[in-house]
């Protein structure tokens, strides 16, 4: 059993390592692996290759690693907290809110496009906040059904707002597509500098939620017997997921698919629901998948860069279906 888990963990780590090297080496210009390693170790000759790797590809690869890991962890936390295999950042309103925030900036304030990450982050958190207030208050507050239904309602509200904006300014819709489909850009370290505290908060809180979520696996009563408060666990795990997913949307647009599928792939492959395994390995798996998909998105029609969202699906769905075949 634990051999299987280790094998899954190491395979995903290896896949991540290979993806990272490929992401740094391939693109509009192909740079040999040897040179990439030299550049990373600071031994590369100064030249265009070094500049491409250091200022364009390295930040972008780091973004892909962090965003992929954040969405993988967010999905794992939500699926655990809500005991629902369909849970993803969609379910707590983050995707709808972040999409609205980004489209608001793109369509109404195209001159302030630098505010796009802030818009996505803030509205993602506002939407999640509304879901938490509705879902965790009242006599049945904190119940799974209530949280999920509140999430669906709020997500619909923001989706309607997004649709209204797009309908009012149809000529500006094309510039919003890249965000809505999900895509990384080569803008250096700027966005990460803005949102890293959110990622840090989300990841640290996630680490503390691993054991409480394991207790929740055995049911609310057992979790209470073990001295935990089920409602608090759900709220804090969902909060960590909301912050991670909002920050991820700020960097890379809407990639909710990743948060839905990666934890399932990890569970099916590892044969366990233990969060001690599922949460960290989902981080590695999410990072590997997003780095690989982003490399593909840059290479397929180089030098034109495609949005990464569809490539994520193209890579992720076959793997998911292959694992599902054995599970059901």
């Amino acid at each position: 059993m634990s051999i299987r888990r280790s094998a899954v963990g190491f395979t995903l780590l290896a896949a991540l390592a290979v993806s990272i090297v490929a992401s740094l080496a391939y693109g509009a210009v192909d740079i040999p692996f040897g040179s990439v390693i030299d550049i990373l170790l600071g031994k590369g000759a100064s030249g265009p290759d070094t500049q491409i790797v250091e200022t364009l590809r390295l930040p972008r690869t780091v973004e892909a690693i962090i965003v992929g890991a954040a969405l993988g962890v967010a999905g794992a936390l939500l699926q655990g907290a809500l005991a629902n295999p369909l849970a993803s950042p969609d379910v707590i309103g983050v995707t709808g809110g972040a999409g609205f925030g980004a489209v608001l900036i793109i369509i109404l304030y195209p001159d302030s496009i630098a505010l796009l990450p802030v818009g996505a982050l803030v509205f993602g958190l506002i939407a999640a906040g509304m879901v938490f207030v509705i879902g965790f208050t009242g006599p049945t507050g904190g119940g799974i059904g209530r949280v999920i239904l509140a999430g669906i309602a709020i997500a619909s509200l923001f989706a309607a707002g997004t649709a209204a904006l797009m309908a009012a300014y149809p000529d500006r819709v094309p510039s919003a597509i890249f965000f809505l489909v999900g895509g990384l850009t080569s803008t250096g370290w700027e966005t990460l500098k803005q949102v890293w505290p959110y990622f840090t908060f989300g990841f640290v809180l996630a680490i503390f939620m691993i054991r409480p979520l394991d207790r929740l696996l055995l049911g609310d009563d057992v979790a209470s017997s073990l001295g935990s408060k089920p409602r608090t666990i759900r709220l804090l795990a969902s909060l960590a997921a909301a912050v991670l997913a909002s920050a991820a949307a700020a960097v890379a647009g809407l990639l909710a698919f990743l948060g839905l599928v990666v934890p399932h792939v990890v569970r099916l492959a590892g044969g366990t629901n233990n969060h001690t395994f599922v949460v960290p390995v989902s981080a590695v798996g999410g990072a590997a998948l997003l780095v690989a998909a982003d490399t593909l998105a840059r290479v397929v029609r180089a030098p034109i860069e495609m949005p990464v969202g569809p490539f994520l699906v193209v890579l992720g769905v076959p793997l998911f279906l292959w694992l599902l075949r054995k599970a059901v």
Binding site: D214, D221, S225, L226, G227, T272, N274
Partner: protein, 277 residues
């Protein structure tokens, strides 16, 4: 890590658990309107009563799973309201009525999760913790099942895992809410023997049960509940008179116990010696 402030001292001479005049109101309705009990180490106390008498609510209130509206609950002399989650987890284990059977969790995983009540956040398992996990599996007779997924276990095996999870908490009191309600005769007897072994080891066991014959066989003492109140307590045979069974359950029946065997002779249909109604 914040230091745990312990502003209470356990009294070794106090009963493990003592409750006086506990009341619980849920949504404006008084579910529990005055319940008492005392549980000592090395005894099995059964709470019995008809459906809806408030047995589960009482047990949950005692365990801190539901806040009592009023009344006094003390664990080893310390007021329940002063005990925080992890303190409580070391005083009592609560084995719920309906076990949640998650996918992808093995017996060993589950018992390890039970032991996590002893750990600070992010703290790893010590050798002592591994020993406790091992001994919980042995005591619940689940040794050899470690790698089995919970979803592949029978009802009786699952119930024994639940007890093992509770034992891993290392608490002196085990509270089990209808652990045998969905089990067949053989599994019911196995769980009963398991609970008696734990009592022989010195644990205090509080058992919620609605099978009078089972309660009479396994319990040292019983507490009878009716309509939100505890109405009688003592040795099962002394308390469960035909008169009391008639008053509380509205059924004519006689409890018989002979050489460790017990049974309830019930007048199931109208027309017995005392007539209908």
């Amino acid at each position: 890590m914040m230091p745990v402030r312990r502003d209470f001292v356990f009294d070794p001479d106090a009963p493990l658990l003592e409750a006086r005049d506990v009341k619980v109101t849920i949504g404006g309705t008084e579910i529990l309107s005055g319940a008492d009990l005392t549980l000592e180490a090395g005894e099995l106390l059964a709470i019995i009563g008809p459906n809806g008498a408030g047995k589960s609510t009482f047990a949950r209130a005692l365990c801190g799973l539901r806040r009592p509206t009023s009344g006094m609950v003390r664990w080893s002399g310390v007021k329940l309201s002063r005990l925080k989650g992890r303190d409580l987890a070391r005083l009592r284990a609560f084995v719920p009525q309906r076990a949640q059977v998650p996918n992808g969790v093995t017996v060993a995983d589950a018992v390890r999760i039970g032991r996590s009540a002893h750990l600070k956040p992010l703290q790893g398992f010590s050798a002592e913790d591994h020993e406790a996990i091992e001994s919980s599996l042995v005591r619940a007779r689940m040794k050899g099942f470690e790698d089995r997924l919970l979803s592949t276990l029978s009802g009786g095996e699952m119930q024994r895992v639940q007890v093992a999870v509770g034992l891993a908490q290392g608490a002196p009191v085990l509270v089990a809410d209808e652990p045998t309600a969905q089990l067949d005769l053989g599994a019911t007897a196995a769980v009963s023997k398991l609970l008696r072994r734990l009592v022989a080891d010195g644990l205090g066991v509080l058992l919620i049960v609605h099978d009078l014959a089972l309660a009479a066989a396994v319990a040292d003492r019983i507490v009878v509940m009716s309509e939100g109140r505890t109405i009688a307590t003592g040795d099962p045979l002394d308390v469960l008179t035909s008169q009391l069974i008639s008053d509380v359950w509205g059924v004519e029946a006689e409890l018989v116990r002979h050489q460790g065997r017990s049974g309830l002779h019930v007048e199931w249909l109208e027309g017995g010696p005392t007539g209908g109604n």
